[in-house]
Amino acid sequence: MTQLAGSQARPQRDARGTWQERLLTWRTAVRLGWAVESNWADPVLFLIYSIAKPIASVLMLVVMLQVISNGAASTADLGFVIVGSALWAFVMGGIAGLAWSILDDRERYRMLRYLAILPGSLSVILLGRGTARLLIAGMGSVITLVVACLITGVPIDIGRIDWIMLLVCMAIGLVAVIALGTLMAAVCMQTRQDSWSYPEAVAGALFLLVGAVFPIVVLPQVVQWVGLLMPLTWWIEGIRRAVLPDAASGIGGVGSVWTDVTGTLAPDQGVILVVSMATTAMATLVAFGGYRWSERRARERGLLDRTTGS
């Protein structure tokens, strides 16, 4: 038997929590997430969950829109719905992916305690664990968008896409989705096992608030305010403008809170970018604080290594 004499595993011991160390922790967690979630890479499952499901729900919305409008919906209207709901696959995957990594590791694999006692921070590990799902969801969103446009004949004019706007919005949106996912993970750290459905329920509720498939002007005034404070509202609007310059605005319009307050019918691109950065920064702060509070409370109550029954 090996003696396991000391000294071999000690090299990194005295390195403090550096960015390099965080990056290594994150990268390892991404690999772990990918390996553990590797059935997602199974082509059939990937097709069903990440593509067929979102495409089906987009098409369902399109059909409903056609029925309601007696077949008179314009391609601009269809594009509005398609972009909003294709992006939603990404939101769903991002929020649920992060929150589920807590539940998976605690309830299913029972490894959360061993991750929690690692010198690297648990939040970085959870972020890494959720990244695989985020990536897959992102791919699903893009494919859904393309396929849905082809099927419904909504023309996306590559030449008219505002690439800079698109990239900037994607980056901001990524941060916003991670912030919301982190917040959801903080909630799931506190709750019991049956919270598997919370992330999707919350994402579903948000879907109605942020103008993903209809302009938020149709919502009651108070709810419009909530929608306007959500970073996702601005992110979706920004992407929509970048991809489909002719689509209607999801924000503003006669009688809307936005128009009442600002006197403009719809925000222009600059406003969209600024507000989406501001709301995303706010969401990130809230998520950061919420997560810190949650981890602290979990240590106070001994929640990190309990399993709530399975």
Binding site: M1, T2, Q3, L4, A5, G6, S7, Q8, A9, R10, P11, Q12, R13, D14, A15, R16, G17, E21, L24, T25, R27, T28, A29, R31, L32, A35, V36, S38, N39, Y109, R110, M111, R113, Y114, L115, A116, I117, L118, P119, G120, I125, R299, E300, R301, G302, L304, D305
Partner: protein, 348 residues
Amino acid sequence: MSAPAAPATPSSIDDLPPAIEVRGVRRVYKAKPNPVTALDGVDLDVAPGELFGLLGPNGAGKTTLIKILTTLLLPTDGTARVFGFDVARQTTEIRRIMNIVSGGEQSGYGLLQVREQLWMFSQFYGIPVREGWRRVDELIDAVGLQEQRHQKISSLSTGQRQKLNLARGLMNDPWILFLDEPTLGLDVSAARVVRDLVRGWQAAVPGRTILLTSHYMAEVDELCDRLAIVDHGRILALGTPTELKQRVSAGSIFRLVLDALEGGVEPIAALPGVERAVLAADDATAPDGQTVAVNLQLTDDAVLGSVITALAAQDAHIVALQKSEPTLEDVFVELVGRGFGDAPEGDR
């Protein structure tokens, strides 16, 4: 204070702070009908290089203390330090130099192979890639999982999972290793492998420290330099196994194996000259449940006569009778006032 930079060497052990320093730790859980006081004012010092045992019945608070020391749980009151680092505030420093292995667990990423999961942890601990693989294989050899190295974790047996868990626990070559019932659910030979490995690992480098909990008195007696007996969140006694056994008042200690004991031990315990009569816990003689083992402590050998008479009256027949030295179990019974065998099942 920064993390200790160099591994402990014989010359530096004396300069190290205490491996464990617990002062007035209380822990109250907010439970449904009433709050549970799991730890009720614990003070404990463990020196670097010690193999220290915590012995106590279910629900005594052993796991709670380990969770506090491993930064998974905060104490309600009091302070605890591991190698000088405060468990409430200096978690990163502590996490670098400690690890924990719990027994009887079903943990593991089922889809991964044994080698893959260990490698992930080598990376989480910041070991360079090539060295990480080397370390993984070394640990796999050490715990005896060579044949399972490419097996999926979901297909491992309980004992194999436990060995894997131990390999993970040694990955960062900790200064202090917390073992919470590490041999729970293992067969005799697997338990032996784990015990030998743990002891060998500890002996290999001066300063390596272990805190072990166990229900097996013999295991604690065999392994530990010192131990504490805990019950209801308090430390009742503390010392080397020999010291503790010497505490048991003189007299004669017998182990009686009976074919049956319908009337229970109470009538015997009530006899004059019988200081104690309890059902034995580590009932190695009665794996089939056909016999009953009773530990007796008498003021004098002569009292045995009246015990035998009383047993005959109860229609209990003696299968074996052995005069014995005091064991940790006798110490436990004397301190706690009940045997391990009749300890009420605590909530886990």
